[in-house]
Amino acid sequence: MSPSDEELVAAFQSGDIAAFDLLVRRWDRRIQGVVFRLVGNHEEARDLSQEAFLKAYRALGTFKKESRFSSWLYQIAINATRDRLRRRRRRTDVSLDEVEEGGEPSLRDAGPSALELIESSDLSRAVAAAMASLPEEQREVVILKEYEELTFPEIAEALDVPLSTVKTRLYRGLGQLRVRLERQGIRGTAAVPVPSA
């Protein structure tokens, strides 16, 4: 049975450097996946994932055991992504249209590779585009919930916000996604099964 994240963290803190390697192997692709959904660029996702792990490596010695390693790592990756998007926004002239739409220019600025890289159906591209139009805070919550399957308390921990804020952002984000997808003629064809409580 493979050791848990928390056991690996404890091993690292006791001087076993190789434990960090296992954590990287375990989480690298997932972190890259989250970041890709946030920035829409594969190269940048890889770069930001490396940056997040480097920061984690430097700070893991002082990591407190009260929080989950995964939430902590998501937090580092999301903060790094926010910084990158902020820098990118400063460099980019945001058009008035984009401001009026209230959307994030981040994914549209990433160039054609952003959406073209997604090798799947039109629906996949439509969802990616709708997601790109969400305000950053809502997009983060929707991605962590829908694709990373984090629980509400885990998202609250990763984003360092109250539980109620997480639910508000999610509800608004889902509402906007619904409107945007419906505008493209997508009205939901494959409902998810009702989860068991």
Partner: protein, 218 residues
Amino acid sequence: MDCDAFRDDMLDVLYGEGGEAVVRRVEAHQAECPDCRREMAALRRLRGDLAQWRLPEPLEAAPVPASTRRLPLGLAAAAGLVLALGAGLAVSGTEVRYERAGFSVRLGRASDTGALAAVERRHQEELALLRAELAGVKAHDSREVLATVAAMIRDSEARQEAARQATVRDLRARADSQRQYDLARVSAGLAYLDGKAGLQAARTTELVGHLLKASQQR
């Protein structure tokens, strides 16, 4: 009807995080509120659409880390039941086969216990041989390993230092010879200039002498 009050509960139910009480509360509300019923259905459909967003190939197959993998309660219970059943069958010696005619199950231990006992004996003998071989091998002390690694590191550092010093010596020698060569060229250049200047001065003196002589003759 205050539908907003049910919003958080609805999200809990939508994502399977609400307890029984929450589920009952939401169901009771939706039974009386067609708007919320429709909204819940729309959100379920939306989630179905969102699930279609695929990542690029290298990221798509990202496995869920073991520590975060969660099974729905029902599925977990079913998996537990299957495991328990499998373990029980294994312990009881029950044999399950799938052949052309379909599955066949034989309850109880196999009759050929003699053959099994022979296999067991053979394994025990092999294990004993392996143990004997292992006993012959000198166990490595971790301190001994550490000392060896430290010695290897020291050797490596010494080799690197020797190589560095050799490189420095070589560079110094090359710099010296280059300086000597440059000095020789400068010196030769100066000598050439000196010679040229001397010749020019002699010619000037000769010319002045001629001019003086010519003026005296007039």
